[in-house]
Subunit: 342 residues, 2 copies
DNA sequence: CTGAAAGCGCTTACAG
DNA sequence: CTGAAAGCGCTTACAG
């Protein structure tokens, strides 16, 4: 790899000191009252040599990297692809670059990534946490590293958070199904310790209003076979289930595949509802009724909150004002299709 | 943000010099014959203080960051999600971290990302290039920055490359359609300067063997309306088209949506073939016939090739042996469904 | 207006 | 066996 041109190279060319070059190239020429002609020469030479500052050196000195780390649960989730772009654009607008890390929903990888990113001096983190990540969050708090959780939070650990009100949306979805005339509504969720997912079950259960619950919990590692089994069971004659509500897009798609191969008619035999959106719904013969998270808004707000956090961190020094954690709950919107007998 | 513990902190605690600490913590205690007891103490103290080396400082000194940059065309492509995991795992196996950048298929963003990543001292780049990126590639060559292109290459610029043989696969796909009895095969591709896509058209055209070509070129920015128009036209009475072959997964999905809403029966009315795989195919009533790229293998090979490149770069110094660029063409496999009257 | 110097946290040849 | 010193490329208070 060819050597990059450094401040020193420019200084030598022009015949001035490195400091002057630094001042001029950082736009401090006015403040430092650098000679006009010299400033001109420095800029011209920098241009001619295609000077690019070494960010590594810059951030070693400044303790700031103008980079934010984004750790996602899995790169191919609809949630991820929806949020990445918003975060990147918003970050760029503010002069930050985004570095993405992929935890594959694994706590060990999350731990690893957090440290890798901190050691590379990201200025802050936006995190879609993995299951049981409480201690990782505590660590970030202890080290006073600016961070914002999105999508998933932990009731036992106060922190900055942006996401949706899972309880409320699940509740409203069931109300909607009831209004469509469904009288035996099943809910297919993961068997999980994730708070945001448990909130969805809670919303489902409370909205049932006397209907007998049909909650089916799927083991994540075996989700394909478990969903298949659940769908088969729920649509079998004795059960009388007339609506299946899936707690995530992955579950919904897997469920739909199984419903298709079982030749279940939607919505005639059972109504179908998904908590999340999925690209794949477009190829199903019936428009699928689902809720849509405000991914764009989550991303933009997360960057905003994080940058404020970074800003605060800079100012404080040794102040004693107690830390204020902020939570922002946004709303999902109903996308009414024709899969619930609308 | 709390100050991180540095080598100096450890040195002070133990009462030795920073150099000793550095030697021990980097595993050079044997080579440097550091006193056993001292080494023990240093390690214990590092442990106790949860020492984590500052990678920024490390790479400023070593000129190596143990990071590779991956620039993708668009984060939500099937190609991207398929390749990211393989690249991350393979990189990790070799002690490298992957930083992902998203060009959104935009040449300006690609340019920007290349520089951002270089300035952050990535040791090398794996790039899914945007259209007309020749000059960016030339720049990398000139600067002797290790890089490997994947998926897309430029016939006018020699470089390292790993991808599939687009011509050959398109050719074989058409042969397959002919064997299924299709006599009027259309091909829907982008109107593009991308070599890999033009190769697909070339493969299609040459395999037709006397059939009159039905090549439809879609303007990328208007692909939804253009695909809709093309599908409508191709399936209209006079045309007699009995098979549509789509050049990418995005085109295929958009095409399929339109075929569905036009109530075209697949494969009875027209056969349907896709050059690439898509998750969404799973929800279509008929298993979709398509080719599958060896994404895993592309990712693993790309990391391997890049690391060799990085290694070479280190060794050379001022040698004169001319640069050898390597190309690796892998094969896609046919996934025969039932959308081509199989 | 300009330059010499210190320092960010690390590595590593060199001297002892 | 161990420490002082130089240097990676930059920033910035300080002196003149």
């Amino acid at each position: 790899m060819k050597k990059n041109v450094s401040l020193k190279d420019i200084a030598n060319q022009v015949g001035v000191s490195v400091s002057l070059v630094s001042y001029v190239l950082n736009g401090h020429e006015k403040k430092m009252r650098v000679g006009e002609e010299i400033a001109r020469q420095i800029k011209a030479t920098a241009e001619r040599l295609h000077y690019r500052p070494n960010q590594i050196a810059k951030s070693l000195k400044s303790k700031k990297s103008q980079t934010i780390g984004l750790i996602v649960g899995e790169i191919h989730y609809r949630f991820t692809t929806g949020i990445v772009r918003a975060i990147e654009l918003e970050a760029k607008k503010n002069g930050y670059t985004v570095v993405i890390g992929n935890s594959h929903e694994d706590l060990g990888s999350l731990h690893e990534l957090i440290h890798v990113l901190i050691n590379r001096q990201v200025d802050g983190l936006i995190i879609v946490a993995a299951e049981n990540a409480e201690s990782e969050i505590e660590y970030l708090k202890k080290k006073e590293i600016p961070f914002v959780l999105i999508d998933r939070n932990f009731p036992s650990v106060e922190s900055n958070f942006i996401g949706i009100d899972n309880y409320r949306i699940a509740y409203r979805a069931v109300e909607y199904l009831i209004r469509q005339g469904c009288r035996r509504i099943a809910f297919v969720n993961y068997d999980t310790t994730f708070f945001h997912l448990k909130e969805r079950s809670r919303g489902y259960l409370e909205a049932l209003k006397g209907q007998e619950p049909l909650l089916r919990e799927i083991r994540k590692p075996f989700y394909e076979q478990d969903v298949a089994a659940a769908v088969r069971e729920l649509t079998s004659p004795g059960v009388g289930c007339d609506a299946i509500f899936f707690a995530t897009d992955t579950l919904a798609i897997t469920g739909l595949k199984n419903l298709i191969s079982l030749r279940v008619n939607i919505p005639e035999d059972v109504a179908f509802m998904s908590f999340d959106e999925a690209e794949a719904f477009a190829l199903f013969q019936v428009p699928v009724t689902h809720y849509r998270q405000p991914l764009e808004e989550i991303g933009v707000s997360a960057v905003g909150m994080l940058l404020e956090e970074i800003q605060d961190g800079k100012e404080d020094g040794r102040d004693v004002k107690p830390k204020k954690w902020r939570q922002l709950y946004l709303d999902s919107t109903l996308v009414a299709g024709k899969s619930c007998r609308e």
